[in-house]
């Protein structure tokens, strides 16, 4: 199973490092990563393998959201199926 992690908000030092560290800590293997900064606005999309997560996915979602909240970022993790079903026949 894969999850799509998105991070949006004001650009700052260490956003990728922080989110990546959290993924590593909880056993999510990052497969792909794309990011852009548009007039100080940071947007990152990460694809991660969640089969090896050490905690339930729902807890991982809460953890990322809380991490974002503390830093003025919106961080979400969603199962890839929602994107696959919506955009592929």
């Amino acid at each position: 199973m894969k999850a799509v992690i998105t991070v949006t908000g004001k650009d700052n030092v260490g956003i990728i490092a922080g989110v990546s560290a959290l993924c590593a800590d909880k056993g999510a293997n990052i497969l792909d990563i794309t990011q852009s900064v548009l007039s100080e606005y940071f947007a990152m999309i990460m694809l991660a393998d969640i089969d090896t997560l050490s905690i339930p996915f729902a807890d991982f979602v809460d953890l990322l959201a809380a991490y974002g909240n503390d830093r003025g970022l919106v961080v979400s993790a969603m199962h890839e199926d929602i994107f696959n079903t919506m955009h592929h026949i």
């Binding site: 794309t34 996915f57 979602v61 993790a77 199962h79 199926d81 929602i82 955009h87």
Partner: protein, 452 residues
Amino acid sequence: MLNTADILETISMIRQENLDIRTITMGISLFDCVSEDENRLCDKIYDKITKSAEHLVQTGIDIEKQYGIPIVNKRVSVTPISLIGGTISPEGYIKIAQTLDRAADTLGINFIGGFSALVHKGFTVGAQNLISVIPYALRDTNKVCSSVNVATTKAGINMDAVKLMGSTIRKTAELTADRDSIGCAKLVVFANVPQDNPFMAGAFHGIGEPETVINVGVSGPGVVSSAIERAGDCDLSTLADIIKKTAFKITRVGQLVAGEAASRLGVPFGIVDLSLAPTPAIGDSVARILENMGLESCGCHGTTAALAMLNDAVKKGGVMASSHVGGLSGAFIPVSEDEGMIAAVASGNLSIEKLEAMTAVCSVGLDMIAIPGDTTEEVISAIIADEISIGVANTKTTAVRVIPVIGKDVGETVSFGGLLGYAPIIPLRTASPAKFIHRGGRIPAPIHSLKN
């Protein structure tokens, strides 16, 4: 494979355009609860519901987390209670309503539907007893929803039932007058009622349904509205295509969630209901879709045509996205639950006559319309008769959920709170239909050849 644009589109639908799953509704058969002892009957009903739907709310929350999409309501619908209660006393029926309410509280769901009767051809003793206590049941409970089917295209219209429902709505309004007659917001009168509808107040678990089933209702007026806005000055063929594509995406999410909920709960998947369901929130309005299509205000001439096109395109897009479609499946046009409809009524651009015309081309009917508190029961019955006739003649579902707000009149506003929203009181015709309504009897089923 996934691409960035698709991911961002989905996320913006959820975050900016209010895309959500409106409801996961578990249908539960209560046939095995039948008992001639009303206390035993209530105990069995309580046990069956709380056991069958024990994990419903938690499952909804878990799926919400997994896919990152809000699931606004978790609900239960049950077999029409008049079929379960049989000949128990009217007081027994009130006890059942209270039992349903208690079960809903235990489960943590926000509504339970099925305090219902099907009387399109005539009344059983059970149906009569149930309908006689609807006003009291709705006064004494918070989460119980009631519906009565008074007509079908094959049976015609039971005008005795239409007359009775006029007085039942009036009585319900009076008994809940201290809460702006909110009891009437939980009571709906149907023609051609669907048996697998997940939306309240009209949900019940039909007689051909399995023991338990999961039905899902999607939402997404905001998503459709934004897509139309982005399309700019295109022609209507292009617009219909855009609506279809958007409806496809919305419905796919509904199908995904329905399948996941069914498999986690070990319950068969029933249907996805394709209805566009608005809320009173800004950016979640069906009326604003119609205005984005080019109308100055919802309710102006052209509204029926725009709504017909919207409704048809939503179905065409949605049907391909889901393995089983059912329920009401069409654009909802409730007044108090739709910010744009509220504004259109308040500005005088949307009348009850136009709303009635709109219901001929979409589901579900005259919905959540606040009417003056001094409206007579005959006028309410006549509103029902008109609306139900549209459904019967057109072989479609129509329904009436009007709220005579006791103590309030045209020019005033009533607020029901939450998803039920708020509404200005709409003016009605005042000439009397009393003699027609008091005739009673049945309007015969319409002929379905010689179409014109």
